[in-house]
Every structure is written in C-alpha cells, then in structure tokens.
Symmetry: C2
C-alpha cells in the first residue's frame, strides 16, 4: 500500500526549515517596515505565496509584497518598491513581470520583494499583482491543515509529470490553481479522481463567470470573478493530468510524486531518421521571454520546412546556457521533382499558370485531375541543409533570436543522437513520467 503521509513528509520543510523561513521573512519585513517609517513611505510588507500559508514544499521561495497606499502613482510605487527591495536584498537583481521587482538568492533560497497597491477588493486593482495578497487571505480561511498537505501532494504529483508552474516554459498549473483545486475537491485523491474521469474542459466557477472563457482549464479566481486563474494551463498539461490520474488510480505508486520529472531516456538507437541540431548561446533574457521565442522559432522552421516539402516529424529543445533545437526528419533529400498544384481549370488564372509553367523546369505535364491543373517541376531546393539555411536567413524567429542568426551552429546527425541536453529531453519524453 502506498503511504501518502510518507510522501508528504519526504518533501515538506522540516521544523528547522519552517523556523528559518519564518525568521528570515520576519527579519525582512521588519527591515521593510523600518525603512518605510524612516522614509515616510505609506506602505506595508506582507508575506504571501505558499510559504505564508503552509502549502510550500522544501526549499520554496519567499514572496514578500510591499503594499502601497493607492495615493501613490504607479511610477513612484515602482521606484520606491525597487529602492526598498535593494535595501533589504543586498545582492538583489531587478526582474520584470508587469512591473519591476527585486529578487535574490543570497539567503539560500529565492526571495522576491514585489511592490503592489493595497486593495480590499479585486475590482480596485491597479496592477495584476495587487490581487496576490487577496489570494493569501482567501486561502487562510478556506484550507484546513489537512488540506494543506493535500495541496502538497497535488503539487508533487504535477511536478513529477512536468505540468506544475504557470510560466510560459511549462504552461501548467500554478500553485494557486493547485490550492483552488483542493478547496474545490477537498483532497488530492478526490481531485485526481474527478479530473481523470473528466471529459472536456476543467471548469470551476459559476456559469455566468466561466462562460466568458474558452481555455481548456477555467477556474474562476474566488477573489476576482473576472479572472480565469487557470488561463495558463495548456490542453496538453490538462490531458497529462487526466491520463496520469487514471494510471495512478489504477496502480498507485510513490513514483508519481517528486520535485521534478525524472529523465529516463529511451535507448539512443538508430531510428532511420535524420536529426538537425541548431545551437546558439542563450541571450540574457528571462525564461518567460526566451521560451516562447524558442517555441516560435521551432514552429516557424517547421512551417517553412513544410513549404519546401520537408516534413519535421519531431522537434525538441533545451534552454540552459545554450539553446539547443532538435529537428527530426524522415529524409533530408527530396525527389528532384515536385508537384505544383495550379488553379481550378475554371479560374482566369489557368492561362497565366500554363504560360508560367512552360519552361525547362517542367518535368511532366501540365495535366488536369478532377477540376484542377497540376504540373511537375524541377525541385531546386531538394536538399535540407540548403533549405534550412535559407529558412533561417528569412524566417522571423523572434526578436532576440533574430539578432543571433549569425551565431547558429547547425549539425546533421544520421543514426544515433549526439550527447547533448536536447537529446536527453528528446529521448525522455514520456507520460506518465
């Protein structure tokens, strides 16, 4: 029998960690209060996030919000927020969400100091983060102590399946959504039982509120009926949760829980395909900007390759110090002939088409099939490395990656994959993890 209590204990902060987090956050908040008092700033610190409500796992971040009176202008609030952040986080660096904030790892875990406006009701919010303190307040009265452990189980389950986190890197379930799922379903088992039997979207909320949203997961934020807290969750992430819920309930195992997915690469054998791997140095920009750009880069290349009749059957990427993009093709040499589909014979364009396609590059035709005219032309772009060079030259790969076009390293592999991080990602793709 699987021991869920043991699972929880294995990943929960122990008494020492809880005490140290409490002490650290108290210290930081005292310093913030003092700074505000000395400088006559009308603002108040608040510990938010999972650490503030007992739903955090080992090593979790500390999120301290500084709530400014709404009489401050946005720019002033931002400026003072950074000032205070740098004051309490000596090694802090500035990061950007909707607004800048200060983040630091100097205390052995990530600490974010984020300015916001103080509101009592989501309708009063000026910036997106103003809502966050309301979430903490809501959860304080809606989660029992037992349920806090259930939240941890659900987080661990999602983490192991690679679907935890609302960042654009993951497109998964945020901590807050996980907590709302437990508020709604009562327990981990009840939540995954429900979701694994679910057909279609995951919807929580009153119909008049949920009806406005179209994404796969619609969970109305109890502190703001206008907001879908589950907007970031992709269909794939929801589907993985459904699938893994099913398999877990069928054969429960502790292997479904963990801080992150295991990499269990399948054997690196010759698949009879061709791999192209594009490598570039990672530009110094945050995950939430670089991940969507790499994804965009892959879909641009895939689309453009298809226009040259090259079929990318799989792709994968890795973003660490280096960006690595892997493209898998059935073949990288196409026939020298290419079917060119013309207009319907009824179209006025058919005569120009015939005139245009009468030269030396016609290999056969033109001929009519059903209602349309076709011609077979010489394909001068039938070798992929030429096509890829042209694609990378012309395609829009995203603002930051476009700047690095000159620095791409492109390598072709036939047979086994090279020893690279992207290869591990490629070979490890598996659900349930």
């Amino acid at each position: 029998m699987i021991d869920l209590k043991k699972v929880i204990a294995g990943y929960s902060p122990d008494t020492a960690e809880i005490e140290s987090v409490r002490k650290l956050s108290d210290d930081l908040m005292s310093k913030i209060r003092e700074y505000c008092r000395i400088h006559g700033i009308n603002a108040d610190p608040l510990l938010v996030g999972s650490s503030s409500r007992g739903t955090s796992l080992r090593g979790a971040d500390i999120d301290i919000f500084i709530r400014f009176k709404r009489s401050y202008g946005i720019r002033e609030m931002e400026k003072l927020g950074l000032e205070i952040g740098h004051y309490v986080l000596m090694e802090g660096v500035e990061k950007y969400a909707e607004h800048p904030y200060v983040s630091s790892n100097e205390f052995g875990r990530k600490v974010d100091v984020v300015p916001c406006f103080m509101i009592d009701n989501a309708t009063e919010r000026i910036t997106a983060v103003d809502r966050t303190p309301l979430h903490s307040e809501y959860l304080k009265t809606h989660l029992t102590d037992q349920q806090k452990d259930e939240v941890k189980l659900l987080k661990l389950f999602m983490r192991k399946q690679g679907i935890y986190g609302s960042e654009l890197k993951t497109n998964g379930f945020s901590g807050y959504v996980t907590e709302l799922l437990i508020v709604n379903y009562g327990s981990f088992l009840s939540a995954i039982t429900h979701i694994s039997n679910l057909k279609g979207k995951l919807v929580i909320g009153e119909p008049e509120a949920t009806g406005k949203f179209a994404s796969p997961v619609i969970i109305i934020d109890p502190t703001d009926q206008q907001r879908n807290a589950g907007a970031a969750v992709s269909l794939t992430a929801l589907s993985i949760l459904k699938l893994c819920g099913k398999t877990f309930l069928r054969e429960p195992s502790e292997s479904y829980f963990g801080m992150e997915p295991d990499k269990k690469p399948s054997k690196n054998v010759d698949r009879g395909t061709i791999f192209y791997i594009i490598r570039l140095k990672r530009p110094e920009i945050v995950d939430d900007i670089i991940f969507p750009q790499v994804q965009k880069m892959i879909s641009s290349i895939t689309r453009a390759s298809k226009e040259y009749s090259f079929n990318i059957i799989n792709s994968e990427y890795s973003v660490e110090d280096e960006i690595q993009v892997l493209l898998e093709l059935e073949t990288d040499i196409l026939p020298e002939v290419k079917l060119h589909s013309g207009p319907p014979v009824e179209s006025d364009n058919v005569i120009p088409f015939l005139e245009k396609n009468s030269g030396n590059d016609v290999m056969r035709g033109p001929y009519v099939i059903d209602g349309r005219i076709y011609v077979e032309l010489k394909n001068s772009m039938n070798v992929y490395d030429q096509a890829l060079a042209k694609i990378l030259e012309n395609a829009d790969l995203g603002k930051h990656i476009n700047k690095m076009k000159g620095e791409f390293k492109i390598q072709r592999y036939k047979g086994k994959l090279p020893d690279l991080k992207v290869s591990i990602n490629f070979l490890s793709k598996r659900n349930p993890n």
Copy 2:
C-alpha cells in the same frame, strides 16, 4: 488563320468510303431481312450510329441493330440475334454489353450486329440498347448538314484530348453526347466557347429532369427524360474540355484536332524517385471489365501502401497484350520508427493502449500532445518491396486480376524509366494534348 473546313475534310470519309459503307450496310441489312423472312422471324434491321447520320469520321464502325417485335422473350431475342449475327458476319465473335451481340472486323472496319426490341417511346424499352434507334431518329430531324460537320469537329477536338468515348477506359463524351452538344449550342465554336466559360457542371435539359442527377455532366436524353446521356463523363474529362476550350480559343490551331492524342513524352530524366512496375499478361476479357479492374488495383495498392506509410505520388497503367502498372514513390525505405496515434486521453481505451504499447518495439513515449496519446514504435515494414509483396498477397485487386496474383512480375527502377508502354503513357501525360 486556322482552316476548320480543311480539318473536317482531312478526317471525313471520302466519297468512295461513304459509298462502300453504304453498300456494305445495305448488303448486310438485305441478308438480315432475307434470313428473317426465311426463318419467319419478326424483326427488322436498322443502320444506327454515326454512319447512319453523316457524323462519322474515317474508318468508323458500322452499327446494325435488329429490332425484334416485343412479343419475343428476352432469351429468345438474344438467341435469334446471335444466330442472325453469325449468319451475316462469318468471322464474327460474340461480345457482351447488357446483352450479347456479334462483332467482326472482316470487312476492314468494325461491324456490330446488335439485337434489340422495337419501341416507339423510351418508356417502352426492355433493354438499354432499345433506345439507340430512337437516337438516330431524333438526330435525323435535329442536325443540319452543316451541323454534322460541326459534330465531326467536336469529336476530333475531344479525340485529340483523349476525352472522346464513354467506355470505362476513357470516361469521356460519347458520340451521341457530342451530337447533342451541337444540337444544343449550334456549332463547334459556340459549344466550346460556352463550355470553356462554364463554372461548375455542364447541364442541358429541363430542371425537373436534370435535378435528379448529380454527375459533372448532365445532358438529358431528348428521347428519354429519365436518362442522363452524359452520365459517363468524368469531372477530369469535363475539366480537360473546359481547359482546352480556353487555350484553343486563345490561340486556335489545327493541332487541337486528331483521331487520338499524340504521345509526346517528356524527357526520361532521373526524377529522384523510385518506380515500381508490375506486369502481368492481360486476361482475355473486354476493355469495359479490365480497365475498371486495373484502376481498382491501383487504388487498392495506393490505399494499402498509405497504411504502411508509403506514399504513391503518381501511378499510370497500360493495358495492351500486357497489363503494366507503374507506381512512383518518393522513397521506398522509411524510417525504422513510426508514430502510432493512440486514443484521446479521456477514452477508456487509453489504459489498454498503454498496456499494449509497453514492449520492446516502443522506441519513444508514450506521450501526450493536446488531447491524445501517441507512441513511437519500431516499423518492421519499412522497405517497400516487402510491403508491396504483402499488399499484393492480401488486397482485393478485382475478380480477374486476383486470379493472376502468382504471375505478377515486379521490377524496381531508380532513376530513369524502362522502355515500356506504361513509361510512354506516364511521360506523355499532358493537357492540352
């Protein structure tokens, strides 16, 4: 300027041919009458078809119908019809349409002697051919002498484009349909002007009659409002007529007219593809049975190949003493990995799918994308000659061809095509011809 009169003259029977056809058909009909008189058969011969109405081209067939009183039973009519046929055609052989008839080439051109029932109105017909004499009668009063030449022009135009003939070999325009087009449009130029500007179906007849039919060409038979005389015409044949009408009107040339399409093969160059050619002796069956079977064979092979992920990009055939089927593939070796698409994650079948796909043939996955689960499996049928052998063994290739499975010769060609009739057909595919 193009001289249409010269075109007509070039392909029309000269005075000597007309006289000889008249004499031959008169002789045959006299013999038939005499035979009927002597044997007390209540039947009357009638010359039908283009030779009977001045719309025939050089070397045209002679079609003599023997019209039996309707008091005869069908089997008796058939028996007597064959008896008379063999009496007048000493070297005649029996052929089969809806009913058997006798056909011979002993007089230097094809002569068919076909029994039917005598009717005054299509509603009385017992067999499909009973209508044919009514067609001759109708056209006698609806085509002027000038229009008979226009019919010849239209026939020559269609013949050159390979769309003349309603047999299953061609799926084109019958002689009768050609005549009805001239009755309807008045002249060759007017007919092709109209058709080349036509969008959609070619429809001639009253809406209450045409409305019942769905084929690309709907031409109500004036002798039978229930019949679509254009039912045999394929969309491709109609489209070729539209296209060639356009190009001819734009730049008229005598090269658009002739007894059959020119074979103008494009250069036999390496297309960077693979050809498989299947050859078998032609079984002794008529065109209208063997052509559909060869077409069915090709579509069966194409469909089954697709199931093995082999993409037949082109096919062609030739049916003479030998049947030759050509298949063109981009490649005949596939990757050793194959994406296998599983059920939606919501389906009850997802667990059996996971259980089934957990063995040694899993190369990667299973994994979820959007709402579905996939797995990459080892493809053990990744070489086409193996796949084709299996396909030919299992597929239904049509009654007569199925019997010859043991006698197929299969050859693979990479690069240029071999010197075979099917290669000429393949390389000659071109519209306008």
